[in-house]
Structures are given as C-alpha cells and as structure tokens.
Symmetry: C2
Subunit: 336 residues, 2 copies
C-alpha cells in the first residue's frame, strides 16, 4: 500500500503505463462494445445485449494490509471486482477464481479463503461457479466476474458534458486513514480505530446505488474510486475532454478527526487515498432529482460535490482552499 505520484514518476512503469504498453500489442477486437480503458470489458451477444467481463487480481504482498484475515482478503478480492461492475451498473452473475496458494496454508486456511470468496459473491447476489488452483510464493486471488446487460444503459467512463453535476455515493478518507494507521500507527480512540480499520478490512461495492442510478437514466459517466478520488476525476476529465470544479469535499468525520489528531491533511486522505469503493458519477443536471431519489430509494445518498467545466483543469475550491487536484493516487508499481 503506497501513495505514489504518477506525474512525477520517471523510472519504472506504473500499473496504468503497463496496461497501456501491453494494450498496444493486442490486436483490437472489431466492433467491441467496451474496449480497454474502462472498468470492465463488454462484447455484444446480440442486439442490445452484451456480455460484461472483469478480472482483477489480489496479491497478498501489496493488497492485504496488516491484520486482515484470509476471509477478509478473499472477500475483498471479490468486492474489488464487483465494484467495477457496480461502476457500470451491471449485475454480477457469476464469479470464477484462480488461486495461487503458498505451501504453508492449512486446511482451515483454505476453508477460510473459500468462505470469504463465497461471502463476497453472495453479498452481491453472485455465485462462485468455477476456478482453479496452483502453487505460488504468495497468496494470489485472481477473480473473474461475468454478467449480462443491455447495451444502452451501461454507464461508461465517457459521456460527461460541460455543466454536468459531479456526484459521489459516500464520504471519503476512512480507508486512507485506516491504512495509514495500520502502517504507521497514530493517535486514535478505540471506537474510531475500529471504524477506520473496518473501512480497510471490509470494503463494500455500491451495487444497489449503481443499479438505481442506471435506472434513473441520469448518469452521463461513471467510475469507481478504487484508485482514489483525485485519480478518478482526472480519468473522467481526460476521457471526456472536460475539467472539474470540486466545491464540496465529503470527508468522513472519522478521517477528519484522525487527520486533526495526527497532524495530517484530511483533504489529502480523501483525495489521494484509494482503496475506497464509492461511485464517482456525472449527472445530467435536468435529471438530478431523479438520480438523487433513485439512490435514496435503495437507502443510499448521492452527494453533489461539483460540476464539469470547459476549463480542463481539476480544481478544488472549498472552505477557502483553492488549488489544483493533482493527478495522483494509489497505484501499484510506481516508485517501487
């Protein structure tokens, strides 16, 4: 777990650079519905029906923070993949898992991993239906999620127009504070500690909110915030040729408190932390009320945090603070 500066890095390649490098070597599939560069891949099954696929890998060494149980690690491996389905408004149907297992695991360890995988899938209505195992030097959980969707209601990264409302499904900063606490310690009450650590150990994908938003037809673009809020905003800005002005930053109370008591910047935690699985969406202003009501109807809340601008920068102007939000966030590899 580390925060990195994509803009400043010059040496090794970052995760996104690697994907971009490799993508250039893959012969593109003709007429693909959602190619590389979005949260999922999608291919057409028939008119207006697509198969949606996602794979991402959890590696213990980099993705499992101190103190996380095997059950939680296995569950997280599923949740982080389902969050990408959530970002697109797609119901995950089935999950397959490729497991790389170190030699030293016991039968009860394996059972714990299996239970965690099952729990992660079932929480979101999906089933684990297949997989394979092999030996590896570190615990590796590669998850594949499959589902189907009609094509026109997929919520892609591209679609934002200048003037669209920028919104998120929750508060930020708890995961970053929790990760920081687990890594470096810090001043924190017992109650707050539990809360911050829970944000790290038990992440949740915003699937219900996502399906509600899809139903509202108000969303013009969508992404999940797993790489950090700042990075998401830059990604949406770049994909859509727009900028953003963020005028409210919903920082979780616990993160604000942790920052205050440990001499940290709470905005830093909220913007650049990553490993948080909120939805970051742009909304057609004419349909804002529909979007807000749809999310409320499933017990969630949609927070308006800014708007899309023709000025292509990503700016923060909140509580007297003014400045550019940097294009950095949580990313594997960089500066290793």
């Amino acid at each position: 777990m580390k925060e990195t500066n994509a803009a400043e890095s010059s040496g090794g390649l970052g995760e996104r650079d690697i994907i971009e490098l490799m993508r250039k070597h893959f012969q593109p599939m003709p007429n693909i519905v959602v190619p590389f560069g979005d949260d999922v891949s999608a291919i057409r099954l028939r008119e207006n029906e697509v198969a949606v696929l996602k794979t991402d890998m959890l590696v213990a060494q980099t993705d499992v923070p101190f103190g996380m149980s095997l059950w939680q690690a296995a569950r997280k491996a599923i949740v982080m993949n389902i969050s990408d389905f959530a970002a697109k408004g797609v119901v995950p149907s089935v999950v397959l898992v490729s497991l790389g297992l170190p030699k030293n695991l016991s039968k009860s360890d394996l059972a714990e991993i299996a239970d965690g995988l099952n729990a992660g899938a079932r929480e979101y209505g999906a089933f684990v239906v297949g997989g394979d195992t092999g030996e590896a030097c570190d615990l590796v959980i590669a998850v594949q999620v499959f589902g189907t969707s009609n094509e026109e209601s997929l919520m892609l990264r591209r679609g934002t127009r200048v003037g669209d409302i920028l919104a998120v499904t929750g508060f930020f900063g708890k995961s970053a504070a929790g990760l920081r606490y687990l890594q470096y310690g810090g001043v924190v009450s017992e109650e707050a500690r539990e809360d911050l650590v829970k944000a790290v150990y038990m992440p949740n994908a915003r699937l219900q909110e996502s399906l509600a938003l899809r139903g509202s037809k108000a969303v013009t673009a969508s992404i999940d915030s797993s790489d950090g809020l700042a990075w998401c905003l830059h990604e949406l800005a770049e994909k859509n040729g727009v900028g953003f002005l963020v005028s409210t930053l919903p920082v979780a109370e616990e993160a604000v408190k942790f920052a205050r008591e440990n001499n940290l910047d709470s905005f830093e935690l909220a913007l650049y932390g990553g490993e948080e699985y909120e939805l970051v969406v742009t909304i057609n202003p004419q349909h804002w009320a529909d979007a807000e009501a749809a999310v409320a109807a499933v017990g969630g809340k949609l927070y308006r945090i800014g708007k899309a601008t023709s000025d292509k920068r990503v700016l923060l102007e909140v509580e007297g603070k003014k400045g550019e939000i940097e294009a950095r966030g949580y990313e594997h590899f960089k500066n290793c």
Copy 2:
C-alpha cells in the same frame, strides 16, 4: 513440474483435493448447466444458449520450465485455458488476463508477454480484450476465457456408456520426455531435442478437432489430457461409473527413442506425464466413422485406443503388457 502419486499421498493436499474442499464452501448456483468438476463452467443465457467460462493461472515457479521464454510462457497461459474450451467443443471468443508481475521486468519483457498473450489468443480466433496488473513476487498469468455455445452440443466429462470407443487426437509422451530432458538432461540427438523441447515450449490446443467432433455428434464424453492421460482415464471412469481397457497406446516416436536411450519406460512417459493438450474422448461406436471423418476433414486424426468397460478398473493390455493404469499424473502441490 513433477510427477506425483495421488493415490499414495497422505500429507498436504493436492490440487483436486483443494478444489473439492473449497467447492463445499461455495453455495451452489441453482440450475447451473456445468458446475464445478468439469473443464469449464457454463450458465444458461437463454433457452439452449449458454455462457462458457474458464480460468486457470500460470505461475512461473511451477509452470514455466527452464529455458521457456516470456513470450512462450504467456502464450502457454492462454493455450492451456483454450484447451479446456476445446475439450468441451466451444469456440473461445475473448480472453482477459490478470498479471502479477515481479519488479525486475523490463519494458521489453512486458512487450514480450503482451505479444505472447496476443499470439496465443489469435491462434485460436480469440481476442485479448481486458485485464489488469499488479505486483507479485513471481510472474503470475491468470487467464479468463469466455465464449457462448448451444447447450445440447457441449461435450462434457459425463456421458460415456459401456462399449463406447475410447479415442485420442494425438500421440503422447513428447512433453514428458521434453520436461524430463530440461530438468535432468539425457542422451538425445540435436533434432530429437528440438522436437521434444518444442512440445514443452509450444503446446497446442486441439480446437479444430474439437469443433469437428462436436459437429459429428458422436462424442459421449470429453476431457483434455493436461493432467496426464492416466489421470484423464480415471476421471472419465469415475464420472461415468465405467472402466477402460486400453489396447493401443499411441506413444510418440521421439518419446519411445528418448526412453530407450535413457533407460526409461516410454509407457510411463505417455501415461503419467501431463502437460499434453490432446483430447481424450469416448465415442458412440455407431458414429465412429463420422467422428473419424470429421477430424480428418480438419487435417487431424482420431486414434482409437480402447473401449469403455463395465469392469470399473482402468486396464492396459498392449504389446503383451498387462496391468492397471494407476490414478496418478501431473498435479500441483502433492508431496511438495
């Protein structure tokens, strides 16, 4: 790469034991078309159309023999997954890849991996359409394959009846000889060396033969021989409540020669080697000619090697040799 004895092992769990242990912790999906225990998973999309999914992971430490290039390793990761599609008679449509990458890889290493992935997919008509990367201590290539099929023509592991013809799509033993040579050396001519090593470095999936066989409607059960011919036969026997009498064992000439010159048993190489991607099928005797003609029509050859018996043992009776074929083969984990 090691040969193991599943029957005798008592200590750690083998790959299949682990999958079986974990499967018991997964809530079964209702009405699933192909659940755990076959080469692929399949779920119903609509009447008589299924989504077919497979994932398997290549880990350098155990799956990449000495001297195999990154390009070959990446290609193999794809081919071993596509071979499972071939075993079911399903066209692979798209591939996604989760990569665990050690820090020390260079840009040209990454390009080589990408080219190998692309080559493996394109050889069989599929496209690499998505994926993700993360850092890992060893090269890990987790591949997901997706395709669709009509339900009724899927060639599953279950379906063999007593009296069915047992057949394979090629000769055995080259991979095992090649692996043995790479691991321990041996007496071998330059030409034979190239041939044996090529079998290891450049495996091929029998997709064309498989689609031809599916078309013939003669196949009653099918599996690929990646875990070794002996293991396949026991798996088909167990799944179908039958036995097999093997009366011809097609051992590759190069494997026979390698065995002779290195004081090895060529039948041992052919039966228990693994990492060979032939199809092992049972055929309704009334449709044998159709099956044979179908495979010939795509440039392949179907070899009749025995028959399914009511005696539930798996027996070899060939060239004066008589005996039971043991339930062992290549498997990760056991006796590590």
